[in-house]
Amino acid sequence: MRRLIAALAALAISAVMFAAPAQADGHIRIHLIHGIPGVDVDVEANGANVFEGFSFGDTQDLSAFAGATLEGVKVKVAGTDTVAIDAGDVALPADGNFTLIAHLDADGTPTIGVFENNESSTAAGEGRITVRHTAAAPAVDILANGAVAFENVPNGAGGDADLPAGTISAEVVPTGATEPVVIGPADLPITEGANLIVYAVGSLEEGSLTVLTESIEGLATPPAAVNTGNSPVDAAQGVSVAAIAGIVGIAIAAAVAVPAVTRARG
């Protein structure tokens, strides 16, 4: 525990040193996800453990270290010195929105993937779906509502799409094939103004395939306009008033004219 505290203190100092200019840009979000099923790990940086007992599916917020360089980053099997991933020095970005995920590559070797998340605003009424292949498995096609939406996605790749809010039906198949459907069909919620990020993790061969998700919110855009009228209220009143006046006028004229005519005849 003493080592952990010391490491955190050291990191905090370096984070302060590096983060100060970074914060000028305002926005930073760096998350670290553990995406390797079945193995608890410790994360070492600057010579000491910074996270211990980090479990599959857990997320750590690294935003405080924005702009800092973590030296000698190692991911180790929890409670041991067995190094799973030796990532060397890791320079964290000064600003932006990133997700780091410890996962298996296509061959089942542990690795760290770095994704910059798409923080652009979504159009009014739309949400964003992102899929990322971070599992020990070959490339796949991802079908949405029966059509190929993402084609030939290999480990380490992904993509996103903005869609009207609602639900899509998703299936995953081998690249270039229509079957077997290895996942789905399953309904995916597209939430307006939010980005649902889906990670495929685990290993096909080991039968440990599953998914992890994270969500980024606050991307919504208000409607382009609120058009709540296509006819004039004043003019409408004017027309009716004029009509009434016209009718009254005709009536008066008739009332005056008819007796006059009658009189003339008489």
Binding site: D107, A123, A124, P138, V140, G158, T210
Partner: protein, 292 residues
């Protein structure tokens, strides 16, 4: 943020999804064993040690952001040439956040696929993969309404008597989906009235010569009461705090805020009517807050 589908749906589906479950074809055999709990640790340790030997020394995220279209760009350093661009199929992105996004660097990765993988011949093309744009047809289905919703409105001060409220979204041109003249539209992507944020309720002032529900919104008195009825049979009273005209292009986005103190934003049209455009130049906005 309110999901547009029930939370239970989301929870149920997330786990099922996209397990990009990958193909039956064999993948490399170096994967970590996750079989039996006890054996797993030992096996994993062995596999992880192997992995460490192949590990690279430097991982520089900033290098990825430079240009994923060119894997050799930036300062990314890998022992294996496996920087894989994570293409962004959505064509609506700004240039600045399109391909710069999702720069992806693998550490200690081996792009070679198992020889037996007949359906995946990635080979040298591994790092050049570009994902195509989402095709036509990749569209969401109509969401199911769910949860507590506003269903009716009374504003005695301006003769709004039990007007029907329906959930609405946006038109294809992303403008507010205003309902027929005799109804009020609740912007279902925003907050439910009474919950955190600014709940938007919009109605016509006049449509095709027929007065809309909010025909007299501009005349509503500050302090007037707005009563909203909900689908669960409850109701909530609100007090008009302000009435303001904005040019349409200057309508404050905060009126659609998803967080902050609960308020209603009642919106209709106002200002001069343009007969050519058949449109008003302004929006009249009445803001109301809950009465305890």
């Amino acid at each position: 943020m309110k999901p547009s589908t029930p939370a239970s749906l989301a929870g149920r589906t997330l786990w099922l999804i996209m397990a990009l479950a990958m193909i039956a074809a064999g993948c490399a055999s170096a994967s970590t064993s996750i079989g039996e709990p006890d054996a797993a640790v030992a096996t994993a340790a062995a596999a992880l040690e192997d992995a460490a030997e192949a590990a690279v020394e430097d991982l520089d995220i900033e290098g990825n952001a430079a240009d994923t279209g060119d894997e050799s760009s930036g300062s990314t350093t890998n022992t294996t040439p496996t920087a894989v661009p994570d293409s962004e199929p959505d064509p609506s992105h700004d240039a600045t956040d399109t391909d710069a996004a999702n720069g992806y660097t693998t550490v200690a990765a081996d792009p070679g696929m198992d020889e037996a993988t007949s359906t995946n011949e990635l080979g040298d093309e591994f790092s050049d993969t570009e994902l195509p744009p989402a095709p036509i047809g990749f569209e969401a289905l109509t969401p199911e309404p769910g949860g507590r919703q506003p269903v009716s409105m009374v504003i005695e001060d301006i003769d709004v008597v039990d007007a029907t409220i329906i959930p609405v979204g946006v038109n294809p041109d992303q403008t507010f989906e205003v309902p027929p003249a005799d109804q009020v539209g609740w912007y279902r992507f925003g907050p439910t009235p009474g919950e955190e944020g600014s709940a938007v309720l919009a109605a016509h002032i006049a449509f095709d010569g027929v007065d809309g529900v909010f025909r007299h919104l501009a005349d509503v008195a500050v302090g007037a009461v707005v009563a909203v009825g909900y689908s669960d049979g409850t109701s909530q009273r609100y007090r008009i705090d302000s009435v303001t005209d904005y040019f349409k292009e200057e309508l404050p986005p905060e009126l659609f805020a998803r967080d902050g103190s609960p308020q209603l934003a009642l919106i209709t049209c106002g200002g001069a009517f343009n007969p050519q455009l058949r449109s008003y130049e302004s929006n009249t906005v009445a803001v109301a807050t809950p009465i305890e």
